[in-house]
Amino acid sequence: MSTKGNYLGEFEELVLLSVASLIDDAYGVSVMKYINQETGRNVNISAVHEGLKRLQRKGFVESNVGGATQVRGGRRKRFFVLTDVGRSTLEEVMLLKLQLYSKVPNFKLKLT
């Protein structure tokens, strides 16, 4: 499958982080809500699906199908979990960014 390398796009990173923090409850709607709640960004469900699909293709997440729920008219959810590759990629990205930030003169990161 040809993707633009295994880089992580900005939106993909957001989705991947959401999946990572939602742990066992990461599926389309929950990821969408999480992003909305944490960042205030109003994203469309289809964009989230697209992101998840791409992440899976790149091997950063795995998915399996859960049980049926009444809410969804008996339709099953597809749950996503972070893979090891996903975790190490997130770390790499983080480190890379920190490394870059640290080179910026007069720039101090305030972590509250």
Partner: protein, 877 residues
């Protein structure tokens, strides 16, 4: 839960979405929907749901063709059907290509014919408000002798505009401004073949003539001339013609405008328009019918009322119209002939009618041919598809077992139809375009683009598509009727199933079309041969006709005498008449036992020796004689028809009063009777004719030269040289009389050519059809033939068995064809005054020819099937 997301959105999602992703996508979307339903209400939730679904429609979620391979998927049967059709095509390449090619040829030809017929029917419909524009001719009835003129008196337009309030505009044109020929001199070169009309701005306005430069007002200005684009190019090349001068028979005119060339579907063709202002010098009266009057009614007007009013105007002026030729006390009427402008092209030829005419008989015949070809094409296609389907029974049966009702034979047929459509459409377009080119270059028929884009033509195309779908319905019907699943699975390829009945009829119809085409072509060709062989009453070979430029009788005579010096010029003569010209008609007072009677008769004049030149026969009395001085002003020759019409047994010495030189009346004696000769086309009967001697008082129109046949071509340059010596700067126009005579049948020849092509196509198509059907038959009956052979049938017997199938078709075909041949050929022949009789041969021979064609085309397979080796066939079981 009674509340649902909008169903259409759900359906849309199901339609486009990959089955794998459907569940999660739909699940998420529904979850969101019900949440929003509680928070935001149904309406907003519905909208947002639909929006989500549309947003989901992206490439990665959409089904890809790969997924259609999955079992249980609906489309699988379609794909299988297509595969079967494609395999069949690849397997029976010959039959497939025959099928496609013959249908495309037939369709392209039928479309060409329809386009041509449509164009003929759409004449003058490009003119704005053409429904309200009419041409007014006159019908003159003097004592029961009626003449219909396309032309009308000069003052009519003016009077109509004044006296009939419903007429918005009335205008006229005149195409003969002088009594001699139109010669245009431009940059010291002279031209004479241009058709020039003297007219007014009103007419240009009414007929919607488009000005490229200048405006139609210039046609009301004195001494202005307007050229069509192509004439301007001819006269001035690349120079700008505006403001240049042209010498027209000695009058200097200014080029004041350029107009578009008249389109080919317009009854009135012209190269030059002149302002009428300069030419009203010679009459401006009611006398005679010289000009062509057009009227445009206002929107509310009723043509019947207007006609009544025009009749009144004409009745009021009838004495002036018929003029000095009329003596009071006789029944006489002048009635208008009003034709809508779009009907002029197809109406009957009137006297003095310069409009471009088409004989409606020929057109209708072509229309029938177009329908034939549509049908032939489809029937052939249907027939071959059916034949092909029969060989596919087993496959269809297997499909049906696996796919149940989804795998009905209809689907197989539909797949077949779709594939054919893909092949046929581009092929037909290509053939159609080739045909258009050919018609333009080789047959002189150009079809305007707007005809091809017009509504009727598009409707015909739609009809073709419908017919095509219909034909596929027929095949599926036949297949459904004939194939029960069990026998299909057993591979029983029965020839006796009910579909075959229908097929017999289909092949029969197709063959009958070929028979009809063959018969019609025979009749048309025979009729033309008959016309060429008929005794025209004069000898037209090696006769050169030269148009005399200045119309002076004695000068022409001097020139012709000088030509006699040239070796090879055998005889010379002068006449006022030529085949494509209108005959002059006049009122003559004929001497009878009960006093004088009035007749409108054609008349023309001859010089001395004209009868001798054309080898015409004087049956009674004598020819004009230069030694008898009274012949010049006191003698008439008449033709036999005239003698018969006037009721004279011994015409010589009888007196006739006719027009004299100038405007007076003059009595002359009949000195001889000429054997009937036919100078016009043989569509018309010979009419009475009165001939007098040419003098300086009459315009001299044509010089006739009889040439030595051996030297005729080398002589023409010499004659041309002599001509230019005598008439300086005048264009030299000449024609051979026999060629001219043949050109009178141009329209008929066009029809003949079209039919010849049609014949070729129809024979080709039916040959191909018969050939491929017989190929299939051999395939279907191979086992039967094998068994028959083992049991002891000999080759001839088997051959006979094969052929017998087709002979049956012929019988059906002939029965269908005969009444149609009879009807169509009588219809066409009625249009000729001199025609062949329909003999029994025209009905028998085409059938025999078709039989021969069938024997030859199917005989190949007949022999093949009779020489079959039974072991090859039967060891498969």
């Amino acid at each position: 839960m009674n509340i649902h997301p909008p169903k259409w959105a759900d359906r849309f999602l199901k339609w486009y979405c990959t089955p794998e992703l459907l569940e999660e996508i739909q699940g998420d979307a529904h979850e969101l929907y019900y949440e929003r339903l509680e928070q935001e209400g149904k309406k907003r939730a519905d909208w947002k749901y639909a929006f989500d679904i549309i947003r989901f429609c992206r490439w990665s979620n959409v089904k890809t063709p790969n997924e259609m391979h999955k079992p249980n998927y609906l489309d699988i049967l379609w794909r299988l059907n297509f595969k079967i059709v494609l395999r069949n095509a690849a397997q029976n390449k010959f039959i497939f290509s025959v099928k496609m090619l013959s249908l495309s040829i037939c369709l392209a030809f039928a479309l060409l014919l329809s386009a041509f017929v449509l164009q003929e029917y759409s004449y003058d419909q490009h003119i704005k408000d053409h429904q309200r524009i009419y041409r007014v001719g006159v019908k003159i009835d003097i004592g029961g002798s009626v003449t219909n003129y396309g032309a009308s008196p000069e003052l009519l337009a003016e009077a109509l505009e004044e006296e009939v309030p419903e007429i918005e505009i009335a205008a006229f044109y005149d195409d003969e401004m002088f009594n001699y020929r139109n010669i245009f001199e431009v940059n010291e070169l002279s031209y004479s073949n241009e058709k020039a009309l003297a007219t007014s701005a009103n007419l240009a306005n009414m007929l919607d003539i488009k000005f490229i430069q200048g405006s139609n007002e210039v046609l009301d200005e004195l001494y202005s001339i307007v050229l069509t684009e192509s004439t301007a190019k001819k006269f001035f090349g690349t120079e700008d013609p505006m403001g240049k001068t042209i010498d027209f028979n000695g009058i200097v005119l200014d080029v004041a405008g350029i107009i578009e060339d008249p389109i080919s579907s317009s009854h009135l063709k012209y190269d030059i328009l002149l302002s009428w202002e300069g030419y009203d010098f010679y009459c401006s009266c009611w006398d005679g019918v010289e000009v062509y009057t057009y009227i445009k009614l206002n929107e509310a007007a009723d043509i019947n009322e207007v006609e009544a009013k025009i009749s009144q105007v004409l009745a009021k002026n009838k004495m002036d119209i018929v003029g000095t030729r009329f003596q009071s006390g006789e029944e006489m009427a002048v009635v208008p002939i009003i034709e809508n402008i779009k009907d002029i092209h197809l109406s009957n030829q009137l006297l003095f009618d310069t409009a471009e005419k088409r004989d409606i008989t020929n057109l209708n015949l072509l229309m029938v041919a177009a329908i034939f070809f549509f049908l032939t094409g489809f029937i052939n296609f249907l027939n071959l598809s059916l034949a092909e389907l029969t060989t596919n029974y087993k496959k269809i049966g297997v499909l049906q077992v696996f796919g149940g009702s989804m795998a009905s034979p209809t689907k197989a047929v539909l797949a077949n139809t779709l594939l054919s459509l893909f092949v046929i459409s581009p092929l037909t377009v290509v053939l159609f375009v080739i045909g258009l080119q050919y018609a333009q270059t080789s047959m002189g028929i150009s079809i305007e683009n707007n005809v091809l884009l017009s509504q009727p033509f598009v409707l015909i195309l739609g009809g073709f598509a419908l017919l095509f779908i219909f034909s596929s319905r027929i095949s599926s019907f036949v297949v459904a009727q004939s194939g029960d699943l069990l026998s299909a699975l057993k591979g029983k390829l029965s020839v006796k199933h009910s579909g075959f009945r229908l097929r017999e009829l289909i092949v029969g119809t197709q063959l009958s079309f070929s028979i009809i085409m063959i018969a019609l072509i025979f009749i048309i060709v025979d009729q033309f041969q008959f016309i060429n062989a008929v005794d025209k009453g004069f000898e037209d070979k090696n006769t050169l006709v030269i148009k005399v430029p200045d119309g002076n009788y004695s000068e022409t005579k001097v020139w012709l005498e000088s030509l006699q010096q040239l070796t090879g010029v055998k005889k010379t003569g002068i006449s006022s008449f030529y085949t494509d010209e209108f005959e002059w008609t006049e009122v003559f007072e004929i001497e009878t036992e009960n006093g004088t009677r009035k007749e409108i008769v054609n008349h023309e004049y001859w010089g001395y020796g004209f009868t001798d030149l054309l080898n015409m026969e004087i049956t009674m009395g004598r020819d004009f004689d230069p030694n008898v001085s009274t012949d010049k002003h006191g003698a008439y020759l008449i033709n036999e028809t005239a003698a018969a019409k006037f009721g004279w047994n011994d015409p010589v010495g009888k007196s006739i009063v006719g027009p004299g030189a100038g405007y007076g009346r003059h009595e002359r004696k009949v000195i001889g009777v000429v054997k009937d000769f036919n100078f016009a086309s043989l569509h018309k009967k010979i009419e009475p004719l009165i001939i007098f001697m040419g003098t300086n008082a009459w315009t001299t129109e044509y010089a006739y030269l009889k040439l030595d046949p051996i030297r005729s071509t080398t002589l023409i340059p010499q004659i041309e040289e002599a001509y230019h010596e005598f008439y300086e700067n005048m264009p030299f126009d000449w024609e051979f009389l026999d060629e001219k005579f043949a050109s009178l049948y141009k329209q008929d020849y066009q029809v003949r050519d079209i039919f010849q092509i049609g014949l070729f196509i129809s024979i080709l198509v039916s040959c191909l059809g018969v050939f491929s059907v017989s190929a299939l038959l051999v395939f279907l009956r191979a086992k039967e033939m094998g068994i028959r052979k083992i049991v002891g049938a000999d080759q001839i017997h088997l051959f006979g068995l094969h052929i017998r199938n087709f002979v049956k078709f012929i019988v059906i075909a002939v029965l269908i064809a005969w009444p149609i041949i009879y009807y169509l050929s009588s219809y066409w022949l009625d249009n000729f005054a001199y025609r062949i009789d329909l003999s029994i041969g025209y009905f028998i021979f085409p059938g025999l020819i078709t039989l021969l064609i069938i024997l030859v085309t199917s005989g190949f397979h007949g022999i093949k099937s009779s020489r079959i080796n039974p072991i090859d066939i039967l060891n498969q079981e």
